[in-house]
Symmetry: C2
Subunit: 338 residues, 2 copies
Amino acid sequence: MTQSIHVRRYDLLRQRVDRHLASLITPGAPRSLRDACAYVLSGGGKRLRAILVLLGAEAVGGSAARALHAAAAVEIMHNFTLVHDDIMDHAPTRRGRATVHVRWDLNTALLAGDTLLAIAYKNLMRTRHADPAMLAQLFTAGVIGVCEGQALDLEFEQRNTVRVADYFSMIEQKTGRLLTVATELGGHIGGGRPEQIRALHRFGHHLGRAFQLQDDLLDVIGDEREFGKAIGGDILEGKRTYLLLRARERSRGSDRAILDRVMRRKTVPPARRETIAERRALVTRVRAIYDTCGVLDDTRRAVQDNTARALVALRALPASRAHSMLHWLAGALVHRSS
Amino acid sequence: MTQSIHVRRYDLLRQRVDRHLASLITPGAPRSLRDACAYVLSGGGKRLRAILVLLGAEAVGGSAARALHAAAAVEIMHNFTLVHDDIMDHAPTRRGRATVHVRWDLNTALLAGDTLLAIAYKNLMRTRHADPAMLAQLFTAGVIGVCEGQALDLEFEQRNTVRVADYFSMIEQKTGRLLTVATELGGHIGGGRPEQIRALHRFGHHLGRAFQLQDDLLDVIGDEREFGKAIGGDILEGKRTYLLLRARERSRGSDRAILDRVMRRKTVPPARRETIAERRALVTRVRAIYDTCGVLDDTRRAVQDNTARALVALRALPASRAHSMLHWLAGALVHRSS
């Protein structure tokens, strides 16, 4: 019952963010640029970061309406990073649609990303707040953090050994940073006290970790239809996930040799075209190694642990509808199958 | 005598900007990203945009010191656009050094550009001013304008007819926009009155036009050693300059056919490798067409006309050292040979 109220409200907030984003595309800009930006902003998705801004503001007693520009800013900034990351990763699709550099070209994707970042600032600076420079600095530190996280991720691709601790530093910037920026911005705009902002920061931090670990896990144990991408994609790509790095640390002999070969797939594609059966067999084999050396259980525990810490952080905030939404959200993200 | 005082002061301001930019690179970021950003910011150049911010502030009675963060912001933003434009234009060199995507790779150049834009905002927001959100909005409108100008430029490359009026709209965004952002930001930070800010805007606008037209002209009539790039580069590349577009409008018969072929070079490279003699002959031939149909004189006149208008705009500002520097600068940019 309460569950479905939250689902409904989340959906209402999501629609509000979508409508706001749609209103931002105005005529006047060169056609290719405008079309590409509109395409990106209409791409849907959970709008999680925007909604965290709105709920962050409400959770400290402020209004979601006043945080809407900042919510849009964080969501647009997230989309800017996706457009540029997709170029760097040579990704053909995103959320079931062609990526911008595939649908248009590299130049359009590059410029659309740049423009989206500027549009994000334009929205952020529409926020009514006593200290807009502080909001801009918080946001900017987030942009720099996400770029540094992506740079680390690219550096890791070239390395055959990456420590689990390095992985967490990278993920904290690349994925986690935007979630803490979202919750903190909401807290500031809602007029939160310093200890409330710190609590929102901790909530965002642990939620980000849980979210990313769950993402890594879903690639191996998820349901293909629900998750929206082929199972084992990370393995076939040789992506350095927590699972792969931890399993590599723990394994020996032939298991380790297999994981090393998986790591090399990132930079050296398989010498000949593999059959679907071969790819499936590899995913199954690696999943079995993950299971045997206990990283699947490990990851599940880490997801639960981080979710629990996120919920502990919430205790510093007063009971409210937003508080209860954030509580529900943390659980929903962990139990999601897509 | 006065001349050399201005040259000396310009040089002092340039060094101040250079030192400030060098101080921004701090350890901590992933190595490739930090190195690439440091490489870009240490690339030298005239630092014209930064110095326009400083002089804009002084020209309305403010202090250059207080405008230094914003001056750095505009300069860094300019460098962000150069890094990404060089990717889009496949440019191998910039100011005599390898471009970032050549020296490192596409991904590093993409990320370094993104990071530089964020660093620009970080600096801008360090400015002490009563209305930082207004400064950020002015700056952001500039970023969007420059991106739109670049998008138009790319669209023009695909078109075999571009009207001179379209060229000016494009240039006004791509090149001119940053100069008006620079002078206006300076005026605001210096505490200028609205009519003073408008005067600084007009000064930047006409200076930008004069500057770009002079740039187009120098490609054809400049001295190779002084200008630092091969003469006729724009012609060999098929770049849509004011000279080419205006000459194409005016020419007929075989002259027009030659200019049409020049336009096509942008998208369709010459079928076979041309000898240096052939390339020189083409440049000489096109230069002769420009001369015959009067576009060289036309452009010289437009440069002078815009310089004169820039100087008229300055009349709205009180006499001061900065005023006299701006006056000198407008002349120096027009009479430059590099």
